[in-house]
Amino acid sequence: MIKNHRPKFETKVLEHQNIKTPRHQDIKTPRHLTLQKNLLFSLGILSAAVIAFQLALMQILSFVQWHHFAYMVISVALLGFGAAGAALAIFRKWLMKRFEWLPPLLMILAGLAMALAVGISQTAALRFDSYLLFAKPAHAWRLLAAYLLFFIPFFLSALAIGMVFVRFAGQIGTLYFANLLGSGAGSLAALGLIRIYFPGELPAVIAIFPLISGMLLISRARRGLLAAAALFATGIIAFRIVSPPQLALSEFKSLSKTLNLPQARILLEKTGPHGVIQVVSSPAIRYAPGLSLNYRGLVPVSKAIFINGNWGGAVRSRARTDTSDVLDFTGAALPHAMRPRERVLALCGAAGGEIGQALAAGARQITVAEPNSALLSILRNELAGELDSLLDHPAVRVRNLEPRTFLMADTAAYDLVLLPMVGEFGGAAGLYALQEQYLFTREAFREMRRRLTPEGVIAVSCWMDYPLRNPLKLLAALAEALEAEGIADPENHIAAVRSWATITFAVKSTPLDAGEIARIGDFCAAMGFDPALLPGVSAEQRERFNRLQNRQFFEYLDEILSPEREKLYAEYDFNLRPPGDDRPYFSQFLRWKSLPHLRGLFGEQALPFFEIGYLLAALTLLQITVIALALIILPLFFRSQGVLDRAGGGFRQKNGRPGRRLLRTGNKLRIFFYFSGIGLGYMFVEIVFIQRFILYFGSPVYAAAAAIASLLVCSGAGSYLSARLPSLRRALIGVPGGIMALLLVYAVVLTPALRATIALPAGIKLLLALLFIAPLGFFMGMPFPLGLRRFREEFSGLTAGGEDEVPWAWGINGCVSVVSAALAAIVAVELGFTWVMIFAAAGYGVTLLAGWKDIG
């Protein structure tokens, strides 16, 4: 009877798969409950909203807190899916009895939750702060509350999606396709929305989509309730669109502190994929990093730029009279003191200070590579007056490109390559430990060296920190880059000048000559700076003006430039090994094995002050693992009967009732490993592509959107076509095996392929990204539906259409994905992306083995 209501393609799929009609479809089913286009459409919209909300949360948390919470968002989203799977496993009967009206209600509620969750999490009682997580235990609970608040919309959405999956288990391929296609579209939609709406406005705008998806499915059943819910949700969402919640930044972020200054006000703000840009003015904002103590002039008042609440630079123009020559009394003046620089390349230095300084020092051509288009727009338009239109100066050429992309595309030679300052004043406490910083890798410095004229220098300044980390790792990266370029004596090519708080490195392709060495000495004497590295420098000269309590700093510097470098890497309490493109985490210094030593030196409470970001990532992994395990264990607790149990074989008597069967451990484990392997493999691949694409596209949000969209769309296609594979046996071996082989090939060829094409226009790169991902993504969409088929067929006769194992498999897959998202970040930091890829292959290997047993 039901087949009469189904579209033709569905009947074909069912026939092709030789799947029995689900038992509850024997009862009369209203037409709206069949797998119709509006249901698929609704599913697609909801899936799009879920991904868009995920990306919006990443933007919001990067704004109010720091970047490392991006991984938490991915985990929380996946946790919602895992928990929904568990809920379906436990309450399947209760839920499915209400299928006529519950999914649309869940969708409407998901929209409501999306609109409200962020606002509630920002209330004074629930707001958490990264810095206080270890200092004030209440904030750990607040973080948990945030977890739960963000979890709700994902859970409600996933439950609705899951119910549809269960109800139409026989057409899982089609549904999975709609789900993944929608998700892919959602990530692209999020990119568009992020350009238009500020982070606080995004959730309510995105909430419209689940609302629509729910309203599309309203039928006669409980129409009054659903209409009332939809009306209420519409009202709340509309209110939130008109009156978005005020996002409260961590009070320890630079912007928060600056806004506390007298008469501080935000002059203008713009949003974009690189985050929120805000320009602040106050008569108390002055900026002169590491200013010489011999400077007696006025430090000028500047306007300040903040990106996602973090310091983004001071707006300063050389042409203004009140700016005098303050920058000439900082380390930034070192390269100009060495010799005149005609051709200058400023990487990410659009805000003006160094450009003006270079112009004043006689530069004839200055090229600026700045990836942030919104920032460029502000500097060229709203702040053009402040900058005296510096970016439109005839000698200045601005390229809106990621610096690495620019370096690979450009062939010009420069007398000076300027980099942004490394680190933060006083250290960043590891808050950027998980942030990919491709500008400070060995490969990046090698590319910069190749752009130098024979007398040209790379100039980079760094805040001195305590314990010493940033200057040492920066020098290590510079030295290793030079050696990789065939320069065996880096000590003759690197000069370093230290003020009371900063150190500036100047790196040459050719050895420093006597004239340059003398001029550096003169510069130091005039500024009250000390040469930390300079051919022929004496121990006394190194501390003439600025004494160090720990003179081992100089020993470390010398050792990094000697063949003994590896020994220092091995023995130092912090990770000094320079980052490469495979592990681009410059700011990750934590070494787990040093923790007991550091705890002994500084005490338990001080420990998080070193490397809070990475510790948070580890804690997130721990928390999430416990919760994810609970979500897998829970169904086992409650499902003492059902298809899996019966499939386990062997009747037993329980509570005097016949027909119960024990769940055989072997089968449990096989299903667990099969879907765990997929969960781990898929997430690891996704995270690798996101991280790889950050360099490729130059923006984390673009990278996430491109990787997620391509992967999901291709997986959707693979999932859809998996139902047409003629031989399940071959597919179960061939598909995971093929994915493993592809992953191993990717581990070798992906990096060179991306490097070879990085300089192409963005549109072509987007197309190439899709091409890179397509074969892998296509096959990666298959194992999940194939597994369902495989286990359903194995237990045929015991199952009634496969609706029982869907939530179970989905729950396992979701929960392992949750753990994998957090784990992948840690594996990437510890071992590099190549290993993440290899582990992904291993995950699919587990899937292959678990699905292989007794095939045929």
């Binding site: 200092a135 320890f252 200013l291 103590l293 006025l298 430090v299 004043f425 009371w500 309590q549 500084f602």
Partner: protein, 242 residues
């Protein structure tokens, strides 16, 4: 079913049984006259003396100033912990040891005139006021500056004067100073402060914000020449193990 429910309840209990480790306070240390005196003495002994601060006047000042009166109401019970505490507006009251160390480093004498940049809640000013002749302190945030002025006045620190202003310019009318304590870290040392420091005077500045590892910098002015010395709060820490 009962069995299932029991298991679920056990499960919930297991997953909810994590306590709040930060609540334990030593109520026994309180006495009727000065409920926090014991905690304060213990703070000096365990957090300050044990780390090498030995100047008697500094230790006495730390024992005398009631730190719990300089923290927000919600932080009173944490006032004598070995950590900085938030006082609002993104500002903090420094860790007791940092206050002691910065005070010792400038070698304060009873006849000294000291300038402080960054009054905060007024705790550092009060500690200095216990030792030196006069303390001039500048706070840029009016809310903090005004409440600190009132607090110091109420506590009888007549030798302190609070000004709400931008610390960049120092306090020219009261210059020169024997010592300057900058409690608010800055990316540069304001040139007017160097001008207002007496020849032979000392200035101490923290490098690094609270809740991060802090280093201190001592600026000395002798014969017109300005030199600095970095000082680690933990005297010598080997980060390398062989």
């Amino acid at each position: 079913m009962v069995n299932r429910i029991t298991r679920f309840i056990i499960f919930l209990i297991v997953f909810s049984c994590t306590g709040d480790p930060g609540k334990g306070q030593d109520a026994a240390a309180k006495t009727d006259n000065d409920p926090y005196q014991k905690q304060r003495y213990r703070m000096v002994a365990q957090q300050i003396e044990s780390r090498g601060v030995s100047e008697g006047a500094v230790l006495n000042a730390l024992r005398a100033v009631k730190r719990h009166l300089f923290v927000p109401a919600g932080e009173v019970e944490n006032a004598y912990q070995d950590s900085p505490l938030p006082i609002g507006y993104g500002q903090t009251i420094s860790q007791p040891y940092i206050v002691a160390y910065m005070t010792e480093v400038i070698e304060p004498k009873p006849h000294h005139k000291v300038l402080e940049i960054g009054t905060g809640s007024g705790y550092q000013a009060a500690v200095l006021a216990e030792i030196v002749d006069s303390v001039f302190t500048i706070e840029i945030l009016p809310e903090l500056g005004n409440s600190a002025a009132e607090r110091l006045k109420n506590l009888g620190y007549e030798n302190t004067e609070v000004r709400v202003a931008d610390g960049y310019f120092g306090w020219e009318e009261r210059a020169p100073f024997d010592a300057i304590v900058v409690t608010a870290a800055a990316e540069f040392v304001p040139p007017p402060l160097i001008e207002q420091l007496k020849d032979g005077g000392k200035m101490v500045i923290p490098i690094g914000a609270p809740f991060r590892t802090q280093m201190l910098m001592l600026v000395e002015k002798k014969g017109g020449k300005v030199t600095t010395a970095s000082l680690f709060p933990v005297r010598f820490v080997p980060f390398r193990r062989e």
